[in-house]
Each structure stands twice: as structure tokens, then as C-alpha cells.
Subunit: 536 residues, 2 copies
């Protein structure tokens, strides 16, 4: 293992984090953040964190000063896994140093409860992994959460999303899902070498990501007049844009996007969540003037198909027997339809793309709808996007493989190839890889679920006045929402709740799951294997 | 497809069912069944069912009169799948013709609710698949359920268990779990041919199965004096013996084995459930005087390990913070320990072996224990036993495969073999097969769960005074309990409840799942594929 090389790479990551933190500083001033006075503690915490990041970066670069050679597979895995770990540690610093508060004590509302070290890790990991799960109970009170720290929280989404798109997707490829899509050739003139091409791809993807973020920010700022508040600050526009394009889900309001009460904002964010969950290779091809490639893509068709079908089902169920969108049964059918479309579509897209914004309390929906949302978490966005979950393509292949294998059980000698969009794909190892991925996810899910149920006391339910009957489902949803980088789950971690009530052991487990899911398991799992470190 | 051959085989199955029904007839007489008077309707229903079975058998034999050749893989799969379907249809007849009652109406206790056609299918499938899930709410009242019909219900367990051991295990091998154990060579002198050897194995296994059933019956009869009733009828002894050795779980009492209030009976049944969940090849080797083979078997070690560890955890959790076995907190620690051991061990073994008997209302245990029981359902007994679930060996291999594949992700060129008990096993296709099996189970489980949640109305919970919060977990447990052939699940299908309240659509789904799980998926799934029937 070339430790020097790894150290050298990690040093750059530390610097990158330090540089990004600088952009949160301006929001400490009332002129930018909109708060009453200058945030002294918040800005000092940020400056301290920047200093630490720079120093850590210097130390790591120093340790890796004699590094040479290019990273092999093992080094690449270690770099990805460890840089995420490093980012979590450094990214949690501003929360910790500023004494950002989880909220006020339940027993005594004058007593402020500050974030523990684990809380800070949780929040930072949630940001970088673009999960959007939070332990903060009140982000609107700048006494509890300084504005500049809140901006840093949203920045972690931006940086995490950029890291995924550039490092994980463009440079490293992306696991079994990526393998199947290798035929959807990476953009870039074909005469170039592999190295040059990857660089080209990385720059192109980064440009698309940044461009979309800027466009959405401008749109949201413009659409501010349609909100209940009649305006939207740059602060809110930027933060929600970060949350959307990274499929993260951190909001600057306790009611998430629902705070704005604007159908225009809702639909705009829906469109950009869909874009963020789309394979960036396809977005690049659209940019190059080949929109046909997007429309004909099997994965994208399945992705849009799931959104349309599930939304239609939610509207039908909601308007016939469940009355999820018209609880008092007072709306005329036309109005009820548009309510169902608006809230149903938003929630389906938000959960499927693993963003996790909410505009409606889906925990009050019927049990079937809640179960569907739970399953959607595992679907996720398209491969090569910032979306989490298992990715749509893996599900498409999974179902095809199951069918082929059942057929092979009675025709053992007839070998049929896996086909995608009419094209046969070379699948020597792919079938096993896809099945393995589902097996690993199922195994990790079950193990984490039973651990969470064992570790977490009953008071995470009884303490909030929720029935203990919910424990098994809510715990399962908490695992699913973190492992798939969604954010909110059901019940005690649902749309109107958060993760603050969990014990630190549970939070640590969920922090680990967010990292695991974000890096598609392997880059994290290998770090746990002694043989990974021993061997050369 | 050699339909004549299939028809000829199915004819024998129909006759076998007819013959078995004859053994239920004597229990219509008060001298045998212990009821007040001769059961005219019950015995006529049985006679009618026997007549139908014989006639159907004749018809099928007639259709297959010119059959020749031996069954190939496809025919063998069709025979197994279709004979289970035929058994369900014929086995449900006695319930239907006798007008056996689900129970009395909730609104009017004088009104008797008879079993519907789907109820009869459900009960028969539950019997043959050795699941033990029931729709009968009161089996103790002979006005509702004639004794001879109740005996038939338990007989279906016996016949189903025999069918699995002889047909599925000895003759057909048993899927990916069996493949891995092929080195645990099938008993029988090695000079014999394959055909002869299979016959020998089948006879040996049948003999062990029947012998264990007889021994347990005698033991239970003898132990009758230790029960709360001071005695046990032959009827009860035989029926519970059938339920135990088949890992079925139908009881002749509403309180299941708990009815007897006897630790001696409890522990005896525990021992025989463990035996029933053991690979019959190993039992045969013990019979041949080689107990070392049993003790050194990797799967059996894991199986016993799971029982011991989970029981220990239940005792510790139950005695420290949960007080599951001492609700009023009045027992001295010594007594509490023995209570916890007795009820904890029984329930762990009952669920793990997929028997489904109960002596304690485990729905009142803590949520962690309930979650563990839920997961245990998927583990199941050993391969080559009457136990259901995924089988212990598949889990052992699954975990090993995950470890090997994670290692291979950073050492792609180093191929390490799968090892079992120190021996490398030829795994060219086995890794994919095991992963495929887990993938299929997960897929079927999720699909069935969401279907059940959608189809089943909320009144299956609200109608019993249960909170709707339970719907998602209870529905999941109902799917798990039928797919893995356990029987009772959690909540509304828990130890003290039953499946009677479900809609007929749900019952049909669960009936299908019982068959699917029992035949390890493939023999049933292929029946649904048009290409299976088209091709030759």
C-alpha cells in the first residue's frame, strides 16, 4: 500500500474543505445573512476550522512529500474511503467550535442543548453524503444555529455532490451499475488517451453541476415573489439550490420546502431534483445537442416511468379511499387533484432521487403510501448522478437477471445474454456483481436494523408520545433513509421529526451507514478488512 | 414436455392423498375421537373426498396410460409443482364438504361462519407445506371443527413432511443448498447405481421420519400425566407429533402446546423440533453409528449455535430490562431464569425450525426480541430437513461469499475458493446460485409485502382493536411467516391470533407464498413462465 501517495491526496482534500469553508464566512455579517448582528462565535469557529483544515492538509502533504507513482485500484479505494472520513471530521468542526445547538431542552425551554461531538460527525457526514438527515430541531433561530454555520451545513451538500460527480463517477467509474453503462461511452473525443479523457469528463461534469446549481439559484430568487413570504433571500435560494442539485435535502427552514407555500417553487425544485438524479453522462450529451440519447436511455425511461406510475397511484389512492390530500374532505375534486399532483409528485421525486425535501407530512398518508415511499428509498436515482440508493439501473438489471436465471433453471444449457435496450451486454461477471450488491445491501440493512432496535431505547418513541408499535418500522426506515442517503424516514425520523432524539450509539451507526451507502459499499467495507491493509 | 408422464405421476399423488384420508375416518367415532357423538357430516365429507381423490387419480392415470420414459429436469419440476397444487385442491375438500367453521360471527355468537373455498385452500396448503398458519379461530369446539377433520388437518402435515423428505430431498436434491452439501455424500453403498441409491435413500429417510413420529407420539402419551390435564389422548399425542416432525405447527388446542402447561412436554417437543430441523442425511449417519458426522457438520454447528446464542440473549434481555417472562416482577431470579429458559428456548426453536408452536405470547415481548424472531424466520432449519426458511447452510455460505467478494474487490486477480469445514468446495456456479436465492427471496418478499399492504383493508387491524401503526410490520411478518413456512407471525397474525380476519385476496396470496417457499421457489416460479410450457 502506497501510504505516501494516499496521504498526499488526502492533504488536497483537507485544503479543499478549508477553501470551501471560506465561502461560509460572509454570511456571518447581517448584510448577507439577514440576521440581527454579526456572528462572532460562528465566524471564529469557521476561521478555526479553516486553520485546522489547512494545517492538517500541510501535515498530510508533508507526510506524502516523497510520494510517486499513480494510484492503483487499492490506493484509489483507500483514497475515496479515507477522504470521506477526513471530510466528516473536518466538516464537523464548525458545528462543534461554534457550539451550535440541537435545540432547547424539553424540560426547560431556556436551556440550550449543544451538539455533541457525535452530533457534529452525524451532521457533517449527512451533508457530504448528500443525505440530509439532521439532528437540529430548530434551524430558524440564529441564536441556536448561526447563519454562517447553517450556510456551511448546506455547503457540505454542494461539496459532497461535486465530489461524487467528479471523483466517484467520472474518475473511478461507479461499481456494478457503472459497468453495465460502460457502453454508454464516456464523453470526450475518442482520440484522446484514457487519462486525458477522464480529466475532460471530470471537468465537463463539474461544469454541468455548477451550472445547474447557478441556474436553480437564479430561478428560485426570481420565483421568490410567488412564495407566502413574497420574496426569497439569496441565502435561501443558494442553500436550497445546493440541497437540490446534490440530492441532499438540508433546508434553511424547519418545514423544509413546504415553508414557501409556492406551487411554482415546488415544481421548479421537482424538475431540478429529476435532473440531479439523471446520469450526468446523458446530461452532457444533451448539452452537446443529443437529447435523443437521454430519451432513449433504458435507465432514464425506467426512472421517469417509476416517477409517473407511483405518482399516479398516489393520486388515485389518495383521491378514492385514503383522502391523504384532503383530510377534512372539503375540497372539490378538481382542486383535490391538483393538490394530490403537487404534493404527491414532489414527495415521490424527493424520495426517489434521495433528496429528502418535504412539502407535506407523508407520515399522515395511508399505510400503503408509506410502504411505497419506504421501498422507493432503495431504488434511488440513476447511476452517474448525485442520487443515492441502489440506482435505477441495478434494479432494471436485477429483474432481468432474475427472469433469465429462472429460465436457466429448466434450460441449464441454453445461455441467454443480458440485454439492455435491445443490445446484448457482456455480462461474464456482471450478473454476480449485481446480485452481490443486492445481497450486501440486504445483509447490511438487516444487521443495522436489528442493531438499531437493540441499541436504541424505547424512549425515542415514548418520549415523543409515539406508540412503541412504531419502533420496528421507524428503525427500519431510519436505516433505509441513511443507507440510501435519503434523509427523512418514517415516524420518529419522519418529515416533521429528526434524528436528534436518538442515542449517540445509534447516531454513530447511522453516520457509518450514510458513508457506506454514498460510496456504494466497497470503498468503505474494504477499510474494515485487515487483509486490505496488510497486503501490497 | 411429456404431459402423459406428468399426468401418470399426479395420478399416484391423488391416490396417496385418498389413502391418507382413510386414516382420518376412525376419529369420527366417539370411542377414538373422544367427542360426544358420531360425526356423520365429517365422515361423509371424508368419504366424499376419498372418492374424488380416487376418481381424479384414475382419470390422471388414464390420461397418462401410454406414458413412457423417465422424467427429465423439466418434467421433474412440473411434477413437484403440480402435485403440490393438486394436493392443495384435494386436501381442501374435507374442510369444504364438512362445512368446517372458521368460528362464530363477531356480531352474533350464535351464527357460525363456515370456511370459504379460499379458506380451505389456505388451510390445506398450510398443512402440506408444513407451515401451520390457520384460519380457524376455535379448534376445540367439535361443533365447529369435527374431530375427524381436525385429524385430517394434522395429517396433511405428516404427508407434506414425508413428501418433502422423500420427493424433494432424497430424489430431487434440494437446490443451491443441496448442491453445497453434495460432498456430504448421500448414504447407501457406493457400488450401487444412481437410481438404486436414490431409492435406498428415500426409503431410509421415510423410515427415520416415521420412526421419529412414532417415538414422539409414545413419549407424549406417556408424558400426559405431567400436563395440567393429567393425561393426553392418543388424538392429541399423534396430532402434535405430526405437527412437530413435519415442523408444521397445527395444534389441536387454541393455546397450541401452551395448553398442556407441562415443562416436560415443552422440552420433549423442543428436542424433536431440533431433530426435525436437522439434515436427514446426518440423522441417517447417526443411525448407522456415526454420530461424529452430525457433531462435526458445519451447518448443524451453526444451527445449534444460533439456537443457543439467541436463547441466551433472550434470557439476558428478558431478565435485565424487559421483564418479558415476569411481567408483574414477582418471581425470584432463579425461578425467572427457568421460566425464561423454558419459554425462550421453546420459541426460538419453534420459530427457527419454522414449526410455529407457541407456549408464550411472544407479541408481548420487547421489540428487539420480536425483531429477532422475525429475522429467525428467514434462517429456517438445515437443508435436507422438513424445516422451511432459507436453510442455515445458505446463510453460512452467504456470509462467506460476501466476505470473499469484498476481498476480491481489491484483489481482483486472487481467486479464493469457498471453504466449508476446512474443505474447498467446487463453486463455479454456486456463488451466483446462493446470491440469486437471496435476491429472489428479497424480491418476492418486498413484492408480496407491498401487495398485502395494498390489498388488505385497515380493518384487519382496527377490527381487532389493534393500532394501524402495526400494519406494516404485521403484514411483513405475515409474508415472512408464510414464505418461510413458519405459521404465526407478529401482531394480528401473532401467537394468539390467526389469519381468519384477512380478505380472500390476501389469503390467496399467502397460500401461494407457502407453496413457493416450501418448494424453494423454482419449481413454482417456472410454472408461471410461458416458455416453460412452450419449449420441449
Amino acid at each position: 500500500m502506497n501510504f505516501r501517495l494516499i496521504s498526499s491526496f488526502l492533504g488536497v482534500v483537507a485544503w479543499l474543505i478549508g477553501v470551501t469553508m471560506c465561502f461560509s464566512l460572509p454570511w456571518a455579517w447581517p448584510a448577507w445573512g439577514g440576521q440581527a448582528e454579526f456572528e462572532r462565535v460562528g465566524s471564529i469557529a469557521l476561521l478555526g476550522s479553516i486553520a485546522v483544515s489547512v494545517l492538517v492538509g500541510l501535515l498530510l502533504r508533508y507526510l506524502g512529500r516523497t510520494a510517486d507513482g499513480a494510484p492503483y485500484r487499492k490506493e484509489a479505494m483507500a483514497i475515496v474511503g479515507l477522504s470521506w472520513l477526513l471530510a466528516t471530521l473536518l466538516g464537523g468542526l464548525p458545528f462543534y467550535l461554534s457550539g451550535t445547538a440541537v435545540g432547547v431542552s424539553v424540560d426547560d425551554p431556556t436551556e440550550v442543548v449543544q451538539m455533541s461531538f457525535v452530533d457534529c460527525m452525524f451532521e457533517a457526514q449527512s451533508g457530504f453524503s448528500t443525505t440530509g438527515a439532521t439532528v437540529l430541531t430548530n434551524v430558524e433561530d440564529e441564536e441556536l444555529v448561526p447563519r454562517c454555520i447553517l450556510f456551511w451545513r448546506s455547503s457540505t451538500h454542494f461539496l459532497g455532490g461535486l465530489g461524487i460527480i467528479v471523483l466517484f463517477v467520472a474518475v473511478l467509474g461507479h461499481g456494478s451499475a457503472g459497468k453495465a453503462l460502460m457502453r454508454a461511452e464516456m464523453p470526450g473525443p475518442s482520440k484522446q488517451g484514457m487519462q486525458e479523457r477522464m480529466q475532460h469528463t471530470a471537468w465537463a461534469f463539474a461544469a454541468i453541476y455548477v451550472a445547474l446549481t447557478v441556474i436553480l439559484t437564479l430561478l428560485l430568487k426570481l420565483e421568490g415573489r410567488t412564495t407566502a413570504q413574497g420574496t426569497m433571500s439569496w441565502f435561501d435560494a443558494i442553500c436550497h439550490s445546493f440541497g437540490t442539485l446534490a440530492t441532499g435535502g438540508f433546508s434553511t427552514y424547519n418545514d423544509s420546502v413546504g415553508h414557501f407555500h409556492s406551487p411554482v417553487v415546488d415544481y421548479t425544485i421537482v424538475v431540478f431534483m429529476i435532473l440531479a438524479g439523471t446520469n450526468f453522462t446523458l446530461l452532457y450529451l444533451v448539452w452537446l445537442g443529443k437529447p435523443g440519447r437521454l430519451v432513449r436511455d433504458v435507465e432514464w425511461q425506467a426512472y421517469i416511468g417509476v416517477i409517473l406510475v407511483v405518482t399516479a397511484v398516489f393520486i388515485v389512492v389518495g383521491m378514492t379511499w385514503a383522502h391523504d390530500f384532503d383530510v377534512q374532505d372539503t375540497l372539490p375534486p378538481g382542486k383535490e387533484f391538483f393538490e394530490a399532483l403537487r404534493y404527491g409528485l414532489f414527495q415521490v421525486v424527493s424520495i426517489l432521487t434521495t433528496t429528502g425535501f418535504s412539502t407535506h407530512d407523508f407520515d399522515r398518508w395511508n399505510q400503503f403510501a408509506r410502504a411505497v415511499l419506504f421501498l422507493l428509498m432503495f431504488v434511488g436515482g440513476c447511476a452517474g448522478s448525485t442520487g443515492g440508493g441502489l440506482k435505477v439501473i441495478r434494479h432494471v438489471l436485477f429483474v432481468k437477471i432474475l427472469g433469465l436465471e429462472i429460465e436457466q433453471s429448466f434450460h441449464p444449457r441454453v445461455v441467454r445474454h443480458l440485454r439492455l435496450g435491445g443490445e446484448a451486454i457482456a455480462d461474464s461477471d456482471l450478473r454476480k456483481q449485481i446480485l452481490l450488491y443486492f445481497g450486501l445491501i440486504a445483509f447490511i440493512f438487516m444487521l443495522s436494523w436489528i442493531t438499531l432496535v437493540a441499541v436504541e431505547g424505547d424512549d425515542a418513541w415514548t418520549g415523543r408520545g409515539l406508540s412503541l408499535d412504531n419502533k420496528l418500522v421507524d428503525a427500519a426506515s431510519a436505516v433505509a433513509a441513511t443507507l440510501n442517503n435519503v434523509g427523512p424516514g418514517l415516524g420518529t425520523v419522519g418529515a416533521t421529526q429528526n434524528y436528534s432524539i436518538f442515542d449517540w450509539e445509534s447516531k454513530l451507526l447511522l453516520t457509518f451507514l450514510m458513508m457506506l451507502g454514498r460510496l456504494e459499499l466497497f470503498a468503505v467495507l474494504v477499510l474494515l478488512m485487515p487483509s486490505f491493509w496488510r497486503s501490497r
